[in-house]
Symmetry: D2
């Protein structure tokens, strides 16, 4: 990537974060209703803190930090960078104001762009690229976190009237067959990828057939109508505890009103569209549905091998692979090394991308990961037989 390209990319990515927030009221930027959801204000500030910390402080000797307190307030989980706000406390930090956070963004942007206009600093470019990819990840989280905040308000406010991400449908149906053999897995190109995709390596795959379509609301309603949420034989033991202890009986955001199923969308409350692709299910639900269908979820390796023949990008697709390091994985020294490696336990891999994923932020080798009970992302199900 050239400096010019990266400059343009920087401008575009940084702008998109602000565009996503345009429909918000000031109040919407503040709360953290559950620990895994962060306030939009925090996302805006934290993604800026990343550039201030890893670019400006490192490569611009004349840079003066915008506010020394921000390092404490907007560090997410980098132990190497020092103390930080307790994660569950993000929603209580009312100052700095939104206005001040925007000033922070623009101050940092100004300095980064100045730096990019100066002489080329080789070691800086990959870190800027990482910062942009990082911000794109937070952009998707901003959308899903805003959906969580508004979608749990009893009056179901609209984010954007035209913004119904969950209504998309499958372009094709049927199954793709893959033949047994040794395949190569992992990123191999010259462009950006995360460290967890590296270490291209051989793996042995058995014969399998994978669906060209994702499960639809209609198909999932059949599972619900057949008593899927009441039959313990379909569920993992942990999944059954999750269902019974939380009284789960539908995907997230679904509400039964006068005998009809509705769901909250970013365009407001709507009747569930039977033909649309199912979204907002946990790994437990994906696993139970597959069990009911007498099929299974793909492994992440099967998914990657088949991906060329699939249409993907509507939902993050749960795989039956744990998030573990590839052979030869090593994490970078220092804070950047905390990016991925330390989370490689007790999470499942999701492949593909979703309707909320930022442009130019998907690859067939991309490894997303969430805990088995999490479902506020646009998650869906693809089956294998």
């Amino acid at each position: 990537m050239t400096t010019t390209n990266i400059r343009e990319a920087y401008i575009d990515v940084r702008k998109l974060s602000e565009t996503i927030c345009e429909p918000l009221e000031t109040e919407d930027y503040v709360p953290q209703p559950v620990p895994f959801v962060s306030p939009p204000k925090w996302h805006l500030a934290h993604s800026t803190w990343f550039f201030e910390t890893f670019i400006l402080k490192s490569f611009d000797p004349t840079y003066r930090v915008f506010d020394p307190a921000f390092n404490y307030l907007f560090n997410s989980y980098y132990n190497n960078i020092g103390e930080r706000t307790v994660r569950t406390n993000r929603g209580n930090v009312t100052r700095p104001t939104i206005k001040n956070v925007y000033a922070y963004r623009h101050y940092v942007d100004k300095h980064v762009l100045e730096l990019l206009s100066g002489p080329l600093i080789e070691k800086m470019l990959p870190l800027i690229q990482l910062g942009l990819q990082h911000e794109q990840q937070h952009q998707e989280l901003m959308i899903t976190d805003v959906k969580y905040i508004l979608g749990h308000n009893p009056i179901f406010p609209v984010y954007k009237p035209e913004h119904n991400l969950v209504n998309s449908q499958n372009p094709e149906y049927g199954f793709v067959s893959i033949t047994e053999g040794v395949y190569e897995i992992g990123y191999t190109g010259e462009d950006f990828c995360f460290d967890n995709e590296l270490g291209r390596h051989k793996t042995y795959i058995q014969n399998f057939e994978i669906s060209k379509s994702l499960v639809t609301n209609e198909e999932y309603l059949a599972f619900m109508d057949a008593g899927g949420y009441q039959d313990f034989n379909l569920w993992l033991d942990e999944g059954w505890s999750w269902v019974t202890q939380n009284g789960i009986n539908s995907p997230l955001y679904w509400h039964k009103m006068n005998g009809e199923w509705f769901y909250y969308t970013l365009a407001g409350l709507q009747q569930v569209n039977p033909k649309a692709i199912l979204s907002h299910v946990s790994f437990y639900e994906a696993s139970a549905f597959a069990q009911w269908k007498q099929m299974r979820l793909p492994t992440e390796f099967e998914w990657e091998v088949a991906s060329e023949q699939l249409s993907w990008g509507q939902r993050w697709e749960w795989t039956n692979s744990s998030y573990l390091p590839y052979p030869g994985f090593t994490k970078a020294a220092g804070a950047v090394g905390e990016y991925n490696g330390k989370f490689m336990i007790n999470q499942m891999v999701l492949r593909g991308a979703s309707v909320a994923t930022s442009p130019d932020h998907s690859r067939s080798t991309y490894r997303n990961f969430f805990h088995t009970n999490e479902r506020w992302q646009y998650t869906g199900i693809r089956l294998v037989k």
Copy 2:
């Protein structure tokens, strides 16, 4: 009280709530950092909901509610009025916006004032008076809740530069002696009082001497320096658990920095003023301090009997009386009856008033009450020997 008087009182009280919020940023109105603190936005809306529910819906047949959803959103604890937002969820409700809540206030104000301009409705006046007293109670909570929100922000924002409520000092020292005998307790006048003050009745008081002054920071620092927080013999068993499990070693808002004690005030972080009256202690701390001084806290009856000879109103003063009904106490039928009676268990009575109490909202018979571990109010200690 005449209709004119009440009209004026209504205007004044309602205005004060908005004055209290003037220094706030929009963001400050939103969060609920702990369950017992409510968002300022919620206070503004809930005190308005009280008038809409108990006045306009009851006495104005032409009234149309501002927004039907607000009954669900802004009911606090009145089971008789129906379902409501879970208390711990108040900080996540970003809509309606602040602006909309102010519109709600002004809409309700307009209709109440119109009603007060019309023909006299006898039964309405006591309910308006109750609504104003209720709003005054929320005004004090707004101040203490704002202090909690800003005071737990790592950057310690200033509410008002001149607004240091905790620096006030004792006007006099020494002890007042009261002679043993039968005394009468409870409200007896013609003006407003709460139902929990009624049922004036005789009680027998033993000889006692009560301090004319409240405990100062200096006196409390002596307790701390003497190892008061480390000596279990001074504490109630529950208090000692509270100290050890929460790592308590100072009043709320105190921070030791470079060997000096500072406290957060509404005017920002300041060095502890040794001559100022101690504030923000729990009942447990008040009890342990009294034990250390080989004195005790007054009962609420002793306090009321002595009150004419005391200067009071700087801090809510912990008494050693539980919040229980007076002889002959009965609660009103319906929702208004839920105001006080149902809380008469496992709380302690505080007497007096504090620097944050609204004007015209104190009486020597007033019974405030909090749990033994709560200390975000302006609470203090007066000793008896």
Copy 3:
């Protein structure tokens, strides 16, 4: 009390603890199903530890402790005596065995009786008396704790076939009237009493009428049938939370089977006897029942004044008085001072005695106390109007 008397009392009281345990299997001595229930083994050892610690170690210079580890294992809550087993861990300490604990008892008994055969030690006698009263308190707890352990076993084992303590009935009905005036409260005799009964003092009582009978199962069933557990207006706010969060719909040990109410008794599962006196209710239930009857609970002072005209001793009777110190209360120095005073907060006083109370362990001035949600004691309701 003479040395001979106390020697006889010592033998009797110590023997009764073992008699209570006779019907137990070894396994029954071990568990602690909830923190407030202690294993019978622990009671046997702890009451012995009390004599070893406060008598033998203090007054017998030749005494050698039975086992040094027992001080750690069987201290209950005396901070002045040092570290001890975490309270919630008592049920996991399988060694020493029961047999060993009995050996401990007999070893300590032998030495105490030797000491009592020697020259009179004035200061020792009140501590032995305290130790015996202490053991009697644990005897009642042993009965209620055994009931809890066996009564929560799905197979409802019988403790003693003839031992149905809850079937006793009221000897009389009607009301006693007490006239307003100044009365004296507190212990005034020459025999043993606890420090919390001392400080006889005047109190002013209003006119009241108190029931000669305790509430029966029949009367309580009427409350249940009338929807008492479903009507929030009858309950204290805390009580209503307790009911809804724990799904409470009957007294402890009651089970509805095929449409009939049964209760676990120490003689096994039996159909509820409508004429028997109600037992095993919490303060919340007592308060709600009184509210439903449009009466109230007595204060502890009313109870004490009326007690001469009442027949009492079947149930611990909930009063509407908080457990707080009498005027002039002071606690003794050192460990003995931890006996009562440090618990004087957030508990309610119960007066009388129960069918499980040890002989010679009741007085009209006795102040028992429990938390508002506790009901594994033989607790009942007496009403005032």
Copy 4:
């Protein structure tokens, strides 16, 4: 397996459970100090219940159950068999007594052996075999649960004076090299194996070298002395939370006394033997230690491929593989299908066997599994580079 063989195996395995319990006092059979530890009494009864439920009730039409209540009391997790005691409540069920549980064992044994003396029932044999394997698994749990119960008693009772399982040492050192290629994984013989080992399939393995020895106490002490428990960079994010929230600073059962490290063994408290193989570490600790050594844990596939060249069986060896189904895994219908499949999420595979594993209960294809924080089994570390 012939009927004669299985009859002998039945007698041997059933007897071993009772041999394991011989050193126990009656009291030791009762408690459940933490949810994942079960009372020895429960193990004895539950393993018997397995035979009663799946053999006698199914294949012996004349069989009369020993006690109908036992199905409720001693079912572990088989939803298909119906309601059962809440898992965390096992330690409170004092009846039936130990004696009665032994009577239950002998009653069931008598009937099973009679059935095995009768005409051959083909379908029964695999279920008896499963029952014996099941009992062997519980035998290992009985040893580790007894260790947990006695090892958490402040007086550290001895189980058997000669029974120090943790003192064993490595028979050899150095590394084994494995060459890249396609290997087959999974059970392939004719004897018993669990369903989770089936579905022999090809997998691709990269070059690796695996240690012939397990990590010793000496090596682990070097990690501790180097600050391993204080350096967040060595830990998985979840592992670091586990360390800090639980104050972990050594393996389970280790105690620092007067500057020396001791550990609880079944032979009592002993000084840590530096040459002995490390035991009782969590996956988090295994992972952090490997990181510190700049090596890694093997995958379960690498372990299986290398196993022929390794000496194993001293410790359950943590692998870096999640417990997930092999290709083609299907679970049996009904209750037996609940044995393994429903636990295939959020646990890690351990390979090998430990000093506490029952004889004839290990295979190189055996897949054991525990949660990442569990360490009361005899778990150890083998490294790969």
